[in-house]
């Protein structure tokens, strides 16, 4: 197949993306993925060109560090064969194309609404009348949970089909959080507005999403960040990883009913996010990551503070972890609970932790390095093989320790932070750019297309949860419904990141 290859954060002229006829486009992309676990689709989306729709497919190759890009011009009213029938990685992407542009597929197995976007084509489909999979059997019953849940979390609906206590099938209906972010990116013209949008895609991944945005924006404007900016972004990402992973360990303890772990991990998150507060004035780092500049330089005093905080964090973390990972009562709840096999994660196309838990090595920090990854930090992904709650919890435990190590490496050489002025950033015209970041959940992808005068005409965001929700549905099959909370927590996926 004729395609273009680019690296993470490089731009190409829109015209250089080859336009293929749909059959070649489909065959070529599916062929690239066939029998190649190191390749996966990071983004597949549509862009209007007059009456037609241009489909653009981006496949990342983790071994060559390249991203293959190809496109096809189709008439949205024709019926097409789906990619999904042959490769489930495309399931949500094609549902989105169907929902937003009315693209029809002859053989898509699951062509249901995705997020009930306000600008969807068919407004008669509403969030209240989602077509759930139903069972005719008299033996089975359904359990509906949500959109509002018992705890303080985001909304989404879970529909279980159960045989007694056993889950036969889980269907996850999302869209409640849809705020129209991608469209707002086009309508809001100022950089600060767009940065604020990026910060609010998913508040638990403020640093991850904002970094994806600013890396993209700087590439689009031909601006090369100096070491201090890359340093701040890398450091903030590892801090975010530690904070959220620690909070998740606390959450898993809560769902098991292990009170001591809940309290200790919960309180251990506090010094990390309070450090973010000291650095940036916000516990989630809102306000910290900016394109072309930084308002809150990382000073030697902050470096000293952070060393001290990590020094105090580690022994307490090790102590509770030693206990938590050796209690029979906690282990028996986690081991072999919510299993997703290697074959399944590959089929679904999961990313990040939800891939590494089952031995699928996907980590953008290694495969498509950016900021200081690949130079100051040579990342070695942590892999587990059982795909159960225990694997997901172990990954968190080890990644926390790994991130502490990375932060110590970074702190050995804190760059000077020059006083930054507001840089003049002007986006280039007729450009396509794609930015990948490994957030704590996994691969975040942002992409943009500009018109001839540099205005944004497409802005696409893909949170790792896009791929990973299906893994949760798989994980709970044949488990008891009472294990759903711990399975859910062990994935901790984003509703707002999915719904945009």
């Amino acid at each position: 197949m004729k395609d273009m290859t680019i690296h993470n954060n490089t731009t190409i002229a829109l015209n250089d993306i080859p336009k293929l006829n749909y059959d070649n486009f489909m065959e070529g992309n599916l062929g690239l993925l066939s029998e190649k676990p190191e390749r996966h689709c990071v983004l597949y989306f549509g862009c209007r060109e007059d009456e037609l729709l241009r489909l653009i497919c981006c496949l990342a190759d983790d071994e060559t560090h390249l991203i293959h890009i190809s496109s096809s011009l189709v008439n949205p009213s024709t019926v097409l064969p789906s990619f999904t029938a042959q490769n489930a990685n495309f399931e949500k992407f094609e549902r989105e194309l169907h929902e937003n542009f009315g693209l029809k597929y002859a053989d898509h197995p699951w062509l249901k609404p995705l997020r009930y976007a306000y600008n969807r084509l068919d407004l008669s489909q509403t969030v209240e009348n989602y077509p759930f999979c139903q069972s005719e059997s008299e033996e089975l019953h359904e359990v509906g949970v949500g959109p509002i849940h018992a705890g303080i979390i985001e909304p989404g609906h879970f529909r279980f089909i159960c045989n007694g206590e056993q889950i036969m099938h889980l269907e996850i209906q999302l869209g409640y959080q849809h705020r129209g972010i991608e469209q707002l990116f086009l309508e809001k013209k100022k950089l600060l507005e767009r940065t604020t949008l990026a910060e609010n895609i998913a508040g638990d991944t403020t640093i991850g999403h904002t970094t994806a945005f600013v890396n993209l924006w700087e590439s689009l404007c031909g601006f090369t960040p100096d070491r201090s900016l890359s340093f701040a972004r890398t450091l903030a990402q590892e801090l975010e990883r530690i904070a959220i992973h620690t909070g998740d360990l606390s959450g898993v303890c809560t769902d098991i009913g292990y009170q001591l772990g809940h309290s200790v991990y919960g309180r251990l998150r506090t010094p990390i996010i309070n450090f973010m507060q000291e650095w940036s004035g916000n516990r989630f780092g809102k306000g910290l990551i900016r394109a072309g500049k930084i308002n809150y330089p990382f000073t030697p005093e902050l470096a000293e503070r952070l060393q001290a905080i990590l020094k105090a964090y580690e022994p307490d973390f090790d102590e509770i972890t030693e206990m938590f990972f050796h209690l029979l009562s906690t282990l028996s709840r986690m081991e072999k609970t919510g299993v997703v096999s290697y074959e399944k994660v590959l089929e679904i196309g999961t990313v990040g932790m939800s891939a590494r838990m089952s031995g699928l090595n996907r980590d953008i920090r290694t495969s498509h390095p950016y900021n200081l990854y690949g130079s100051t930090i040579v990342h070695e992904p942590i892999l587990k093989h059982h795909g159960d709650v225990y694997s997901r919890v172990q990954i968190r435990k080890q990644e926390i320790k790994q991130s502490i190590g990375y932060i110590r490496t970074l702190l050995e050489n804190v760059p000077e932070f020059p006083k930054t002025e507001n840089p003049i950033l002007t986006a280039g015209g007729d450009i396509f750019v794609l930015s990948l970041v490994e957030g704590w959940r996994g691969e975040i992808c942002h992409a943009a297309i500009t018109d001839a005068s540099g205005n944004l005409i497409v802005y696409k965001i893909k949170d790792p949860s896009h791929h990973n929700w299906m893994a949760l549905a798989e994980a709970v099959q044949n488990n008891e419904i009472s294990d759903f909370p711990i399975c859910n927590k062990s994935f901790n996926l984003s509703y707002s990141g999915h719904d945009l």
Binding site: A117, Y118, P147, I148, A150, G151, I152, I153, E154, P155, G175, Y176, Q177, H178, R179, G180, I181, Q183, L184, K188, K190, L192, E193, T196, L197, N200, A202, G203, D204, G247, L260, S263, V264, G266, R267, T270, N274, F275, Q277, E278, W279, S280, G281, N282, R283, F284, K286, G287, N295, Y296, P315, D316, E319, I320, M323, N422, S494, Y495, S496, D499
Partner: protein, 248 residues
């Protein structure tokens, strides 16, 4: 058992003894203080991503501000953010901070309904509804009850069912897709009940204010008892806000 006690011992004292006087560590963009210095007002008004700044006189609306801090960075002689974390009030107009004024944000005592203090003064159970919230406000509301902030000591708790609740805490700009579930949840709470808006997104829509994907009609149909600004709300802001509503 003994090792459990050891672990507990090693945590030391984590709770904040007096949340009403506690300070946020490091930088905190709390209540803005605006000087009367003359600056390029058009530029100042224009730079704000959420139209929180208005001119004649220069004001910042805490219900719209995302606390990004950009205005204070570019116009340090005009605006600085005090570390004051008590930002909640029950009257929308009191969230507007004017130039030349350096007053704490307080509640309007005449607007607090009688039954709130009488019935909920010593026990308040809240049901949280996220309606497009990005999960940061939600995490901070969870944090209000961790071992540091321990809001339960005041008899204020989050509960699982609206049937057990005395009121709603809403986060997020209220998406159209959540409008119906929110209304239903509100109806399921027994009377009398209160509504608290937590975070800039809930109070004004924040950066999403002009998105067609929202439906904020709920707010025009019901009385709001407390506005708690922040992006996200800091646990201290929330706890102090609710306490000021419940207790004189």
């Amino acid at each position: 058992m003994s090792s459990n006690i050891k672990i507990m011992w090693h945590q030391g004292k984590q709770y904040i003894p007096d949340v009403t006087t506690a300070k946020v560590p490091g930088i905190f963009r709390g209540r803005p203080v605006i000087s009367t210095v003359k600056v390029n007002e058009d530029m100042l008004v224009d730079l704000c991503p959420t139209h929180a700044i208005s001119a004649n006189p220069i004001c910042i609306d805490l219900g719209k501000c995302t606390f990004c801090g950009e205005c204070a960075i570019l116009f340090p002689e005009k605006i600085f953010f005090a570390k004051d974390c008590k930002l909640a009030t029950n009257q929308r107009s009191r969230l507007i901070v004017r130039e030349g004024e350096d007053q704490p944000v307080t509640l309007n005592p005449n607007m607090v309904r009688d039954e709130i203090r009488r019935i909920f003064g010593r026990s308040l159970k809240l049901r949280q509804v996220s309606a497009g919230g990005d999960n940061s406000c939600e995490m901070e509301l969870n944090a209000t009850n961790n071992v540091n902030f321990d809001m339960s000591r005041f008899g204020i708790d989050f509960v699982a069912s609206p049937r057990h609740a005395d009121g709603l805490v809403i986060t997020g700009p209220i998406t159209a897709n959540m409008a119906e579930p929110l209304e239903r949840c509100y109806n399921a709470v027994p009377n009398p009940k209160i509504i608290i808006l937590a975070g800039t997104d809930a109070i004004s829509g924040g950066i999403f204010a002009d998105s067609p994907a929202l439906n904020r009609d709920f707010l025009s149909r019901h009385t709001i008892d407390l506005y708690v600004p922040g992006n996200p709300v800091h646990p201290l802001t929330f706890i102090n806000g609710v306490l000021s509503l419940l207790r004189k």
